[in-house]
């Protein structure tokens, strides 16, 4: 009888303390939090994110794992999280300690974020997303609203999003399509718009280019002994979606070039927007005033 109670006790222990860690299509099953389980989870997850690799080893009676400047050490009696020794820890403690983002369901299954978005920059009609892990988002346009939707478990802005949740939304206009460029650890989402130059904004070379829209011609002036015009090149990475912006900018550059005999070069100055036509002109102050008038005349 005693033997049955013992087996039942072990069974309950295993049942209560067992847990699953899901990383996309990888499942790690465990029934206790020990060195080899934590090592397996961290190794698998850091490799999945293509993030910093773990360090591990032994020191006396302790086996330790180091990741992102944090250290967990296991002995027979205690677990040490940095400087704090604990008798019993749960997997939640370890995940929280290493700042791993997860969703825990009612069955005690932990879904780790398949995509960790570190930065989402809104440049008007394009978005730049820097992330770790696997691209787990999709985009839609509905009723002049642009949405970024999670497809799996996505961490963004200190929140974990479950599949099919809205991560980001923005009111948009005149967008005919979306282009999605998935680069290493970065996604560029372009809202494809039709450009029609209706206004001009002049900036100095050191000035921050803000306050424009896709119909603005951005003209940047640098006082220089050179007489050169620069257009942001198109890039094969955009699969032709930056062609319209490029050709509009080039046509303006060619008009100035023919009047002033300036050479044109294709340089992606950081000040030139990806989502509006623009040029940079290197010339003297004297030429600049005249060029401004000509550009204004061209747009009218």
């Amino acid at each position: 009888m005693k033997k049955y109670f013992f087996i039942l006790f072990i069974f309950i222990q295993v049942f209560i303390f067992s847990f699953n860690i899901i990383i996309d299509d990888i499942t790690i099953e465990a029934s206790e939090v020990n060195f080899s389980v934590v090592k397996k989870i961290l190794e698998t997850y850091s490799s999945f994110l293509n993030d910093e690799k773990i360090n591990f080893g032994s020191l006396g009676s302790f086996s330790y794992i180091e990741w992102h400047d944090k250290l967990v050490a296991f002995s027979n009696e205690v677990v040490v999280l940095n400087d704090s020794a604990q008798q019993n820890i749960f997997i939640d403690d370890v995940l929280d300690f290493f700042e791993i983002n997860y969703f825990k369901d009612d069955n005690g299954t932990y879904y780790l974020a398949t995509m960790v978005i570190n930065d989402l920059k809104d440049f008007g009609s394009y978005f730049q997303i820097d992330y770790l892990g696997k691209n787990s988002i999709s985009t839609i346009i509905d009723n002049d609203n642009f949405y970024i939707i999670s497809l799996k478990y996505v961490y963004f802005n200190e929140k974990i999003y479950l599949p099919n949740e809205v991560i980001f939304t923005k009111k948009i206009q005149n967008t005919i399509d979306i282009a999605f460029n998935d680069l290493p650890n970065r996604i560029i989402i372009q809202l494809i718009q039709t450009y029609k130059i209706s206004n001009i904004k002049f900036y100095s070379f050191s000035e921050k280019v803000i306050g424009y829209d896709p119909n603005t011609l951005v003209v940047i002036f640098n006082n220089s002994e050179s007489n050169l015009i620069f257009v942001r090149n198109y890039s094969p990475d955009f699969n032709g979606n930056d062609w319209q912006r490029f050709s509009l900018s080039t046509s303006i550059a060619k008009k100035i070039s023919s009047k002033f005999n300036f050479k044109i070069y294709y340089i992606p100055f950081i000040q030139l927007p990806l989502d509006a036509p623009g040029i940079v002109i290197f010339t003297s102050n004297d030429n600049w005033e005249e060029i401004k008038k000509i550009i204004e005349g061209e747009i009218k």
């Binding site: 198109y234 955009f238 294709y266």
Partner: protein
């Protein structure tokens, strides 16, 4: 007559087997013909950095890779970190014109700095995205 033929032959040979490279004159790009025995990415950088009227420093190239039709160049950023806007532009144009004109089978160039894909070449030029061959052709 024989001497004239030899001269013509040498001239034709030089023209057929010479390479065009981009150098700098009066704050602008100029193109010059040189003869290189073996045209490699390394050899082109050695030639570019051997001229006084060039903004391509010696040892700028850490490594290079070919991936399909792309050439990936990895530069040592410390050698160009003090460049002015003009120097940054001319350096990039020298590299793009020279490599696209002389290296066969590529249609785009990516630039890395110190082994990493970054936004800025020095202070003003965005190098995150690739450059297409069609815009950097040396005129005949």
């Amino acid at each position: 007559m024989k001497r004239v033929l030899i001269f013509v032959f040498v001239l034709i040979s030089f023209y057929m087997f010479s390479q065009k490279i981009a150098l700098v004159e009066n704050n602008d790009i100029i193109f010059s013909e040189v003869h290189i025995n073996e045209v490699t990415v390394e050899a082109l950088f050695n030639i570019l950095s051997s001229y006084e009227n060039s903004f391509v420093p010696k040892n700028i190239l850490i490594a290079y890779y070919f991936v399909d039709t792309a050439l990936i160049l990895d530069f040592n950023s410390s050698l160009i970190q003090d460049y002015s806007a003009e120097q940054e532009v001319l350096f990039l144009l020298q590299v793009l014109y020279t490599l696209f004109d002389n290296i066969n089978g590529i249609d785009r160039i990516y630039i890395l700095l110190d082994g990493k894909q970054t936004n800025l070449l020095v202070k003003y030029i965005n190098i995150y995205f690739s450059f297409p061959k069609d815009l950097y052709k040396i005129p005949n």
